[in-house]
């Protein structure tokens, strides 16, 4: 019976045309779509782990990830797409990753756990980036926040907040505009902060070296006992108010706030009286000056002039001049 049926052609139909074999690798697209559909909104670590699981054995380029971000902008969980991008960026051999995709919505989670030796350059407008990254983050665009980076953070663009993490191995240097650079997480950071640009709130409650070569509206307020705050630039009212560490105005601020609690709180006139200190601070300024144009030079100086070294140097000079500290 089945043999007879086989002999008859389907009524009204011709034999369907054979198809060509089309091959393309769309595993990345599938993984991204799955990620966005399933991403857990609570817990940044979980988002990154999900992205890692989904991108296992997938090789992709920065351009492919950029294209996916453009394509999926309407997705309800698009804000979390940065963690997926990080999983890819961290796995590819490129040492320098430049992100310059114009997106309508701010994406969080870019350069999450960026490995040491890699550099992430942001030229776009992004959300919170840099969680636990050990590589270097350079912002040339706009970012909401660089949150808890472990490596150096350099800003040429605009950022709302650079929150320096507790285990930081690199400094934060600003050439652009930042609303706030500091740390809110204990144990406080020991990385240096250097400003060549403009900052609203610079090094509040901070615990390490704070140097201003640009403009800081408010500087070193409530800085910790281990901190050293030096102003070479323009600083607003109440410089170092409530600070417990060393507060030095190599150039006088609009008003000096550090008095009662600070280990050492000297104005420009006070410093001028102690010639070796004036010389030391002048030398440091000259060394930092070339860094105005090249962050690598600034980084090299800060590597040598750590907070501990500068504090010890200052203590030695001040004690040598017969003052108590």
């Amino acid at each position: 019976m089945s043999q007879l049926a086989y002999k008859f052609k389907g009524a009204g139909h011709e034999e369907p045309e054979r198809k060509r074999k089309y091959t393309s690798d769309i595993r990345l697209q599938e993984a991204f779509s799955k990620y966005l559909d399933n991403v857990i909104v609570d817990g940044v670590g979980e988002r990154y782990i999900l992205a890692l699981k989904l991108t296992r054995n997938i090789k992709a380029s920065v351009e492919e990830v950029d294209a996916l971000l453009v394509g999926y902008q309407g997705h309800r969980n698009f804000e979390q797409a940065g963690f997926f991008a990080s999983a890819i960026f961290n796995s590819i051999p490129d040492k320098k990753i430049v992100f310059d995709v114009k997106l309508e919505e701010l994406v969080d989670g870019l350069c999450y756990e960026l490995p040491k030796g890699k550099t992430f350059v942001n030229k776009a407008n992004v959300g919170t980036i840099g969680f636990h990254s050990e590589g270097m983050i350079i912002n040339e665009g706009e970012a909401s926040e660089i949150a808890l980076p472990k490596g150096p953070s350099i800003n040429y663009g605009t950022i709302d907040f650079i929150e320096v993490g507790p285990d930081v191995k690199g400094p934060a240097i600003n050439y652009g505009n930042v609303s706030r650079i500091g740390s809110t997480t204990e144990p406080f950071s020991n990385a240096s902060l250097l400003n060549y640009g403009r900052i609203e709130l610079f090094g509040d409650d901070y615990s390490s070296l704070i140097i201003n070569m640009g403009t800081a509206e408010h500087m070193a307020k409530g800085a910790q006992k281990s901190s050293v705050a030096i102003n070479y630039g323009k600083t607003g009212e109440n410089f170092g108010s409530g600070a417990h560490g060393i507060v030095l105005a190599a150039k006088n601020p609009d008003s000096f706030g550090a008095k009662v609690n600070a280990r050492l709180a000297w104005t420009q006139e006070d410093i001028n009286e102690v010639k070796p200190l004036k010389k030391y601070l002048e030398e440091l300024r000259e060394k930092l000056e070339p860094g105005r144009k090249d962050h690598n030079q600034a980084l090299a100086v800060l590597e040598k002039y750590t907070c501990t070294n500068v504090r010890k140097d200052i203590e030695k000079i001040v004690r040598g001049a017969g003052y108590e500290i």
Binding site: E14, E17, R18, K19, R20, K21, Y22, T23, S24, D25, I26, Q29, S33, E63, E64, D66, A67, L68, V70, G71, Y72, Q73, G74, H75, R76, K102, E104, E105
Partner: protein, 589 residues
């Protein structure tokens, strides 16, 4: 054989190959917009091929192959890619936004790539003509000195060959090979719309620098042009885009249409002058009337079934009212037997009763009026949010459906203050109210709300704000006894006073569930539950879980987290009705 006849013969075979697409017989035309080309005309749904185009190509190919190639290509746009006008507009708008002036040419090349890719993939016996045509286009472009077009046509061929094994490889020169490295891995078939955007972006980035600012490539298919698309089709496509790609996609397409199709007038309106005329504003209440067309269109995609309930209303009826002299032609049934002095149907002598229309209070199953409260506190998305606000959408869906059922629509927009519109048959003030935003925290002032409802006059569509001035005005009108109640901040709803109004209303609240004084609101709903039915739409899962714990009488709590949650929604006793239907009619045939 003439060209027309040849085309008819070929089309008879090709339309079978493409499963009889719903397009008209193709035409040979003198030219298309002054150019020699082939195109699909959206207005007439016809494939057009210009005579000159066939003539130009016939130096390299037979006329049969040219016609086959053109017909397959243009039919492919209808059948395979982009297939839907909404997809075409969406992808074009993406390209327009990313690549500006080069956007449409880039989209057109990409659409050709995906379209021909589909044809080559789905029909193994087809391909020779399409590949040959691309090769010829390349040669012709080179002959005209158009190096870019020549390269692009080679790229398309090379991309087909790269992804389909049985196609011959395409030799590329060093310059072409350099660009092709970026193109070769781009997927272009069997993709979601989002993936197509991603591929389009990569494709565009690879060729962007090759294209001149004003790309006038003559060998490009005219398919992707926005000019000729009928307004009606664009209107439908916009609704599809809202449904498929949400508010972001819709806004992008509208932006592109504004640039490229200034003649397109949105039937849902492009401005809100009408809505703006509903009354004075309030300094803390931000109006977003410009969003009304968007939400009206979006809401049109959703229908809601509203279960009727018995409501007392004035039915019209005929009453005997006076008498008149009988005239020939009057109904004898209306004769006043006793007042006609024994003369039946005698003109001028006999009397007939006259009837006049009057009202009769009666209880009938009908759709109640709508009293909808929308939460517009800071935790709720703004109506102009990138993805739109599901809460505002829900409000529009409900308003539209109640209004369409002949009911009055009104409501209140609340955060810490309240803006209120009494139910009326005017829907624009309702829409305007729903698109407003207070911001701030959410403490629903049930006292203020009760007073506003007590004072409300149905049919008056002015917006009233619950600020101190309004309350003072209301307070002054109250009796001494009521004044005392307000001063004492009594939360007990005076049923008798508002019962007549509330009985006619369905009471709806749309919120994310995070209301500071939830106990007050529950108490308020409890009171209302005795005389009317309540619906609470919660736009947050956590809020929904919280609200579901409260066992409120005569109150239905729905989750409206996403627009999809509003699909196939029926308000009120659907389950009960199904059960009744099963009980009453099961087994009855």
């Amino acid at each position: 054989m003439s060209l027309d006849k040849k085309m008819k013969e070929i089309w008879a075979r090709e339309k079978v190959r493409f499963n009889q697409p719903a397009i008209k017989e193709p035409e040979i035309v003198p030219s298309i917009e002054g150019q020699d080309s082939a195109a699909f005309d959206w207005l007439t749904r016809t494939i057009q091929i210009s005579k000159g185009f066939v003539k130009d190509l016939s130096k390299y190919m037979t006329e049969e192959d040219i016609l086959k190639g053109c017909l397959r290509h243009e039919t492919g746009h209808w059948v395979y890619f982009p297939r839907e006008l909404s997809d075409q507009l969406y992808l074009s708008s993406q390209a327009h936004q990313i690549f500006k002036g080069k956007g449409l040419p880039i989209y057109q090349f990409y659409a050709d790539l995906s379209n021909e890719g589909h044809i080559l993939k789905n029909h193994q016996t087809v391909g020779k003509e399409i590949l040959q045509m691309r090769e010829v286009f390349s040669k012709m472009a080179l002959g005209k000195g158009d190096k870019v077009s020549s390269m692009l046509n080679n790229f398309l061929r090379a991309m087909y060959a790269n992804s389909m094994k049985d196609l011959p490889p395409v030799p590329l020169n060093t310059e072409e090979q350099k660009v092709f490295e970026k193109l070769k891995d781009i997927p272009f078939l069997d993709l979601s719309l989002d993936d197509h955007v991603a591929s389009l972006y990569r494709f565009g980035k690879a060729i962007e620098n090759l294209l001149p600012e004003h790309c006038t490539n003559s060998t490009r298919c005219k398919h992707g042009k926005i000019d000729g698309i009928p307004v009606k089709e664009i209107d439908r496509a916009l609704s599809d885009i809202l449904d498929k790609k949400g508010v972001r996609g819709y806004r992008m397409v509208k932006k592109m249409l504004k640039d490229l199709r200034p003649d397109f007038q949105d039937p849902y309106g492009d401005n809100s002058d009408k809505a703006a005329a509903i009354g004075a504003g309030h300094q803390n209440f931000a109006r977003h009337d410009e969003q009304i067309p968007l939400y009206r269109r979006w809401a049109a995609n959703y229908g809601v079934y509203i279960v009727k309930r018995p409501i007392e209303s004035d039915e019209t009826a005929l009453f005997r009212q006076g008498k008149k002299d009988f005239e020939v032609g009057d109904s004898v049934q209306k004769l006043d037997i006793f007042g006609s002095r024994g003369q039946i149907a005698m003109p001028g002598v006999s009397k007939v009763h006259m009837e006049e229309e009057g009202t009769l209070p009666s209880v009938a199953w009908s759709v109640p009026h709508l009293n909808l409260g929308i939460d517009s506190s800071g935790s709720m998305p703004s109506p102009d949010d990138t993805r739109g606000s599901p809460a505002v959408l829900a409000a529009f869906v409900l308003g539209k459906n109640y209004h369409a059922n002949g009911s009055m629509v009104g409501g209140w927009n609340f955060s810490e203050d309240i803006a209120f519109v009494a139910p009326s048959r005017e829907i624009e003030p309702f829409y305007s109210l729903m698109c407003g935003r207070w911001g701030g925290g959410t403490v629903l002032n049930t006292e203020k709300l009760k007073k506003l409802l007590e004072e409300a006059r149905f049919g008056d569509s002015r917006v009233i704000y619950s600020d101190e001035k309004d309350l003072q005005r209301i307070y002054e009108r109250l009796s001494d006894e009521d004044k005392k109640k307000v001063t004492d901040k009594s939360l007990i709803l005076d049923m008798k006073k508002v019962q007549a109004k509330y009985e006619k209303l369905d009471n709806v609240i749309i919120t994310d569930g995070f209301i500071g004084n939830i106990e007050d609101v529950v108490s308020y709903l409890n009171g209302l539950g005795k005389i009317t039915r309540n619906f609470v739409f919660i736009t947050d899962k956590r809020g929904y879980a919280d609200w579901n714990k409260h066992k409120l009488p005569n109150t239905w709590v729905y989750l409206a987290e996403k627009p999809e949650d509003l699909k196939d929604l029926a308000l009120a006793r659907t389950k009960a009705l199904n059960t009744e239907a099963n009980t009453n009619y099961r087994g009855v045939r």
